[in-house]
């Protein structure tokens, strides 16, 4: 059964010093799906991404990607299987140029010897990098240091690094954080344009943004799935209103 899903997590538990950040979580994702995960602070959203990407390992339970267990693999091995991640706070190479950031993200061989001896950038790769830079509106900043970019631009650059990787599964943690409304809309459009080509999980707080994505929503609460469904279904669920939205019915 789980083989049909691109990503499946079953009975996953992870505690930190006795605190169960993830508690008997089960989660299934179809290939090509766009899924939004919401939940109050401390619901375990980012920890869940940590577990998928190999940053931490579950105490119990299994996570499979395309039918292969990944819980014992390291970060770079999981990456090489085709899972890319954008962090909550933008994580780019601050002392490298914007161009080099994309270059290092570009799919291709990643061994020590191949980068040492066959590290030359081909013309196609150069074109690809500039295509990506245009997509994320940073072509004019190609030769600037990534550390000098504005916060929102760094977010875009990190998304650009993911595009360069061309992963099957994209994990995007709060992409709209620190962005202007206009940038948020553009980010939403970018993600929607990627949906279909890639399977995507987005973690988000911004309800306007979640509505824009218009995808199936999973609500996490205290480390397990509280409810899944469309945004409207979820918003009208009594338990969700209770734990997540508080007493306010209008978000």
């Amino acid at each position: 059964m789980p083989k049909d899903f691109i990503l499946s997590a079953e009975g996953v538990t992870k505690s930190f010093d006795g605190f169960k950040a993830i508690d008997d979580l089960s989660f299934y994702l179809d290939e090509g799906e766009l899924r939004t995960i919401i939940g109050p602070n401390g619901a375990g959203k980012s920890t869940f991404l940590d577990l998928i990407t190999g940053k931490t390992r579950p105490d119990i339970g299994k996570i499979e990607f395309k039918g292969t267990p990944i819980t014992k693999r390291s970060e770079y091995q999981i990456y090489r299987m085709g899972i890319g991640r954008k962090f909550q706070t933008p994580s780019v190479f601050a002392n490298h140029t914007v161009y080099d950031n994309i270059l290092l993200g570009l799919e291709g061989r990643r061994g020590v010897w191949s980068t040492l001896l066959f590290g030359r950038t081909s013309t196609e790769q150069r074109d690809r990098i500039y295509d990506i830079l245009k997509t994320i509106n940073l072509a004019h900043k190609a030769n600037e240091q990534a550390g000098t970019l504005a916060y929102g631009q760094k977010q875009w650059l990190e998304i650009g690094m993911l595009l360069a990787q061309n992963p099957q599964l994209l994990l995007i943690d709060e992409p709209a954080a620190g962005m202007t409304d206009e940038e948020t809309v553009k980010t939403g459009e970018l993600i929607l344009s990627l949906a279909g080509k890639h399977t995507i999980i987005v973690i988000e707080h911004d309800m306007v943004f979640v509505r824009q994505l218009n995808s199936k929503v999973t609500v996490l609460h205290q480390g397990h799935v509280l409810r899944e469904g469309t945004l409207d279904e979820v918003r009208n669920d009594e338990r969700v209103i209770e734990v997540y939205l508080g007493r306010k019915k209008n978000v």
Partner: protein, 390 residues
């Protein structure tokens, strides 16, 4: 290669190589001692020592400046290289030692009748020369493999490397390992059949060390400019992002660690015949710390800086240890503190630092001092990463 080096840099390198490798030795060999242009044998020998320190400093920079690995044990690898070549030199003493026997003096003293098996291959120059790079590299490979696989980072890595060199120091102090104990290996007579005390031999060693420095510099320039070098610096700045970009950061660190150990070993191999002795005190932790100071003073992450730093600090040391013998460590520590506080880019970054300071002053003079944020000085830390483990 053409993309790696700019034209001006090639010309500058050529001029420096000419002065160091041709002009100075020529002035030493062919000018009369009373001439103004004469370079004394003492100076050649001293500069030869500095050159080997400069190679060691580049290896520290490769680790610390480019990869964010503050290794406090780089002198272990330097000394291992020195011992490997020292063993060759000790075996070439022949019957000219104190005891007039084929064995090195300390072995005779300890009552040995035959050469221990692990000494035997060091009779051959090429074996000893290769071992001076390969032995440090293998030790670095074993240690680095375990340390990087266990995800030991930052200050823990530094402490561990310091412990490693201390352990090496204690081990070599013991006579049971047959490396000459606390006296080490000394009283060398010949290298490649030439009298080691001969001015021409010392000149040859000086030129060889200079050539090693230039080759090391060119190799490291190529390495750090390649795609590998970009990932190397990425590991320094954001190791997590490197891992989540699919690069096996531990392998990259291991590779650099091994290369740096081999470079340090070669530097040690050329250092020993020029100073005439190798003993375990070369592995002591303070020697590695001194190498860190050279790199910091010169400017880390620049490759040129470490060379400048190695020469500047050691020249100062040569003078200060004679002028103020008791104050040297205080001077060294004070210098390190000042550089860290006020000159984050070291001596080679000083012109740029002064230039931006001058610009700021002249801007302030032309405009009335503006209110608000422009009057704040630009933080120098914007352009470098003070915390390699962020």
């Amino acid at each position: 290669m053409s993309a790696t080096f700019r034209k001006t840099e090639i010309i500058l390198l050529g001029i420096l190589a000419f002065i160091a490798l041709v002009l100075l030795p020529a002035l030493n060999a062919w000018t009369p001692p009373e001439s103004f242009f004469h370079i004394s044998n003492f100076t050649i020998n001293l500069y030869g020592k500095y050159l080997s320190y400069a190679v060691l400093a580049i290896s520290v920079d490769l680790l610390w400046g480019f990869t964010g690995l503050l290794s406090l044990g780089q002198c272990l690898f330097f000394s291992l290289g020195g011992y490997a070549f020292g063993m060759y030199l000790a075996l070439k003493v022949g019957k000219l030692g104190q005891y007039k026997q084929d064995l090195p003096d300390f072995m005779v003293f300890l009552g040995y009748k035959e050469l221990p098996a692990h000494w035997e291959p060091f009779r051959h120059f090429w074996f000893a020369a290769s071992a001076s790079a390969l032995v440090p590299a293998l030790v670095a490979l074993a240690f680095g493999y375990l340390a990087f696989r266990a995800k030991i980072r930052g200050v823990y890595f530094s402490i561990l490397t310091q412990a490693l060199t201390y352990a090496g120091c204690l081990m070599f102090f013991q006579n049971s390992f047959m490396f000459g104990g606390n006296n080490g290996l000394t009283d060398f007579k010949f290298v490649l059949g030439h009298d080691i005390r001969n001015a021409a031999t010392q000149r040859g060693l000086y030129i060889a060390t200079g050539a090693l420095l230039f080759l090391t510099y060119i190799f490291c320039r190529w390495l750090t400019q390649s795609k590998f070098g970009k990932i190397q610096r990425a590991v320094r700045d954001s190791e997590n992002r490197v891992l989540f970009s699919g690069y096996a950061a531990p392998n990259y660190k291991l590779f650099v660690f091994v290369i740096a150990a081999a470079i340090a070993g070669l530097a040690g191999a050329l250092y020993v015949p020029q100073v005439g002795i190798i003993n375990p005190s070369e592995m002591a932790t303070d020697k590695s710390l001194e190498a860190i100071v050279w790199v910091a003073v010169g400017g880390r992450g620049t490759l040129v800086g470490p060379v400048v730093g190695a020469f500047a600090v050691n020249a100062l040391k040569s003078w200060a240890t004679r002028a103020f013998p008791d104050l040297w460590l205080i001077i060294l520590g004070g210098m390190f503190t000042l550089v860290v506080l006020f000159m984050p880019k070291g001596l080679v970054g000083l012109p740029g630092q002064l230039y931006s300071l001058w610009q700021k002053i002249s801007r302030r003079r032309t405009n009335a001092p503006p209110d608000g944020d422009t009057s704040f000085p630009e933080a120098p830390s914007d352009h470098q990463n003070p915390n390699p483990e962020s």
